[in-house]
Amino acid sequence: MSTDTTDRSTATAAPRKQRRTTEGTVLTVRDLNVTFPSEAGPVKAVRGLNFDLAAGETMAIVGESGSGKSVSSYAMMGLLPQNARITGSVKLHGDEILNLDDARMSRIRGRELAIIFQDPLSALTPVYSIGDQIVEAIRTHDKSVPKAKAMNRAVELLDLVGIPNPQVRVRSFPHEFSGGMRQRAMIAMAIANDPDVIIADEPTTALDVTIQAQVLEVLKTAQRETGAAMIMITHDLGVVAGIADRVTVMYAGRPVEQGSVDEIFYAPRMPYTIGLLGAVPRLDASEKQPLASLEGNPPSVVNLPPGCPFAPRCPMHQPDCLTAEPPLVPTDRPAHTAACIYSDTIATRELGYADIFPVPDLRPSSLEQAPRESRPTVLELQDLHRHYPLMKGAIFRRRVGTVYAVDGIDLEIRKGETLGLVGESGCGKSTTLLEVLQLKPPTEGNVVVLGKDVREIRSGAERRELRRDLQVVFQDPMASLDPRLPVFDIIAEPMTVQKMDKQAVEKRVRELMALVGLEPSHADRYPQHFSGGQRQRIGIARALALEPKLLVLDEPVSALDVSIQAGVINLLDELKTRLGLSYLFVAHDLSVVRHIADRVAVMYLGKLVEVGDVDRVFDHPTHPYTQALLSAIPLPDPEKERSRQRILLTGDLPSPANPPSGCKFRTRCPKFQTLSESQQQLCIDTPPDLFDLGVPDHRSACHYNAELQVI
């Protein structure tokens, strides 16, 4: 193991770095338990976590919010609040590091054990430059390094993590960096001292997919450079498939399945893992497959009843599941453990998610069977522009420019149809949605809702009338419901505004609650008494109150955990068929869009770059941006991930206040770089139109359109 074991005894006294092991186990975790005191009783956040981590290996800890995956990593780092009670054992190179005092732990943190946090903005101190913060990481552990030398090392590190112009950027402050760059800086800081273990806590959750792909690549580079073992904490099964060697699945504070990444993805033995995998919409599924719906919610870890914590949600559960919590035991497969007393049954009968979990019946509505052209148009955007003045100054605000948030888009939605509007943050999709919802004339162009031209709306009453048919469901189920109103009042609000009869409202609210799968007798509860998925259902009930024809869905599932998300998607699918609704579905998650949408429109910097039938666009993406976007999305399929070639975009989205001339994508376009100078000139001078591609319902805005398979 260690070639420098002689001074092991003095290692804690002198900050001498041990030789790193290149093979064998670096980190051993045994029976880790974390408990927090709380008003309602002790919160058992982590219960009995065990694993070994070898050098250079990557283990993913997967779980939904509240599963204890982050708490366990903070416990290993000794960064939990003092009121946390931590028991068990964490051994680094064979030395116990759990519950060390702060002085001794500080010598390990950052030097042998490094961590990358989720939110790179709040994790960097705003008042020190990036360089100073990296230098601090270096000099904390080795005072003998002169400042200038440490600064040079900081520049090298920034260069390594792919920050352009590192000599200059090293002097920047965190707020001058974009989210992706900040996360790179965090990675640089984490690897500054060549750590043996890197813990990455949801490192890409706050980032857009194309940036996520870049950062994951940087993480792999960092791991290669340091030879460190990595613990990847994430809820995203796609990320896991792409980066992990081994996987630990956690549920209600407890590991419920452990094994190699292929084992977990291809031979799961615990119903929760199976359900989780079945609940993820697949980007690579051309046939629309139904999603597994996991009913119910993860249990509160305050007062866990005896038995398997997943049993209440498990369709397979038997009375004996409730007697004792099943331990993590070996399965029929080598090096694969699962905490389910029926894992053998699953193995022998080869049960898949569709066998265990209820899946909805996906029959297309009669409407969808009618040809698209014959159906009436419910929403039409004609050359829609929305420009905002860019203001500066606190008291005398003055205009210093224009933000071209939406810069000329044409779209239409037919009855019974779902249009997915996708793009990264800042592409203008939210603005487009607001333009539709506001029912006010845009800067330029026009919005026509159900045949009604918004420029011709003269009065508030007319607008209110039109709003009966146009409703919205928001992204954040907590923020979209007034916490001070009982659910009844929330769902009733649109009807109250339309001055509906009180008794009719009463009846309708109960109807709606039943429709979206909520218990009507819960109408007098407040939103905070419901879980995220249930809150989103309340939001949907409110949107459906007036029997609208068009529903605008603003990232309706992105704030939800995977297992909850599937239920909401299934509900939306079902409602569409039953009520003949049309959806404008705005999302950044292309897998969800592929699952739910009939047509898709890809936006970049206020313009549409590709529009068409969803399967056609996903299988034959023609615009370089669509190709990059699709290729950036990790697939929950380790084998495919290993063989996939990613198109990595360089840099960040340009400011919509100062977009490039000609084709707006050309500054980041991989194809642009392969063109000859004269060919490039066309991209620089002429903004491309949406060209017809000669196939029905597929248009793309590239001068050099060419198909590419990327999934």
Partner: protein, 327 residues
């Protein structure tokens, strides 16, 4: 940035102009200088009262806007802030009293603020410890005790001390008293007179800054970047000092700048009780003495202080916070 500051300055000047004009109109309507002359014994002839009042632009028989106009011209073109009902020019009086107030206030304010910030940060790190609780209670008590109560209690205690020891150690009237002949006796004398008022001012500023700094510090103690600093290997104390404290000083800096600039406005009680003829005391005496111009001059000066404070706060933020400095 330069243009921005100029615009801001213009806005402030407009604000100030409106505020002072309003103050003039209010004071000229509400205060009644004539009453001062009418209660004289023997009574003055009405014509001579009117003549004196008109001489100082204080006669309520002259339309108020006309008086305002005369006063405004005086201020703008001659920097003449008018006269008291007894004919004393207001401007020089204010200038003299600014000096008195400064000598009284600077020491106590600074000691109070600096010790308050230090104690607040110290206390936040020990949140809910015994020392934190004691400090919190002390600052709550001090915060709830108005100056005229704390000053008077100090005076009662000081008198008791002087009486029981027979040494007139504590002084509590005026800036100076009887001096000895030794060298530096004048300084000793002044310090003796400053001791109690300074203590009172510390008691005003200390608890305020303890609370501000404690709350800010608590906010930044829980910040993610402190956790990052510890994850890098900084010990808890060092992470707190270098990262949490430094960041939490940004808002404190604005309060500090504002408090220093508005030093003069809250001192009426201290000055009155300890008989310092400063600006605060002037504000009170001018109002009870129906001195329209004096009142307006004090109001104007306070207004300027508030705006300078606002400006200084911005400058302070720009110095302390790179997010503001670099955008």
């Amino acid at each position: 940035m330069g243009r921005y500051l100029v615009r801001r300055l213009i806005n402030y000047i407009i604000l100030l102009f409106v505020a002072i004009s309003l103050a003039y109109l209010l004071a000229a309507t509400a205060l009644n200088p004539r009453a001062l002359y009418e209660v004289r014994n023997p009574p003055l002839p009405p014509a001579s009262i009117e003549a004196s009042l008109r001489q100082y632009n204080l006669s309520d028989k002259v339309p108020i806007l006309e008086r305002y106009w005369i006063w405004l011209k005086g201020v703008l073109f001659h920097w003449n802030w008018g006269y008291s009902p007894t004919g004393i020019p207001v401007g020089p009086e204010v200038a003299r009293r600014i000096g008195v107030s400064t000598r009284l206030l600077v020491l106590g304010t600074f000691i109070g603020i600096i010790s308050g910030v230090a104690a607040g940060a110290w206390s936040a790190v020990r949140q809910y410890g015994v020392r934190d609780r004691v400090l919190t209670v002390i600052s709550l008590i001090l915060l709830s005790t108005p100056t005229f109560v704390s000053a008077t209690i100090l005076i009662i205690l000081a008198t008791d001390f002087n009486n029981s020891t027979g040494i007139p150690f504590f002084e509590f009237t005026g800036e100076t008293g009887q001096q000895g002949t030794e060298p530096l006796a004048w300084l000793w004398d002044r310090l003796q007179h400053l001791l109690l008022p300074t203590l009172v001012l510390v008691m005003v500023n200390f608890p305020f800054f303890v609370r501000i700094q404690r709350n800010l510090m608590l906010d930044s103690l829980g910040a993610d970047y402190v956790r990052t600093a510890r994850a890098k290997g900084l010990r808890k104390e060092r992470a707190v000092m270098k990262h949490a404290l430094r960041t939490s000083l940004i808002p404190t800096g604005t309060y500090f700048a504002f408090s220093v600039a508005t030093l003069f406005t809250g001192a009426a009680f201290t000055e009155t009780i300890f008989s310092f003829n400063g600006l605060g005391q002037y504000g009170v005496t001018t109002i009870s003495g129906n001195d329209v111009n004096g009142t307006v001059a004090v109001t104007a000066f306070s207004g300027v202080c508030v705006l300078v404070g606002a400006m200084l706060s911005d400058v302070m933020v720009a110095i302390l916070d790179p997010r503001v400095r670099l955008s």
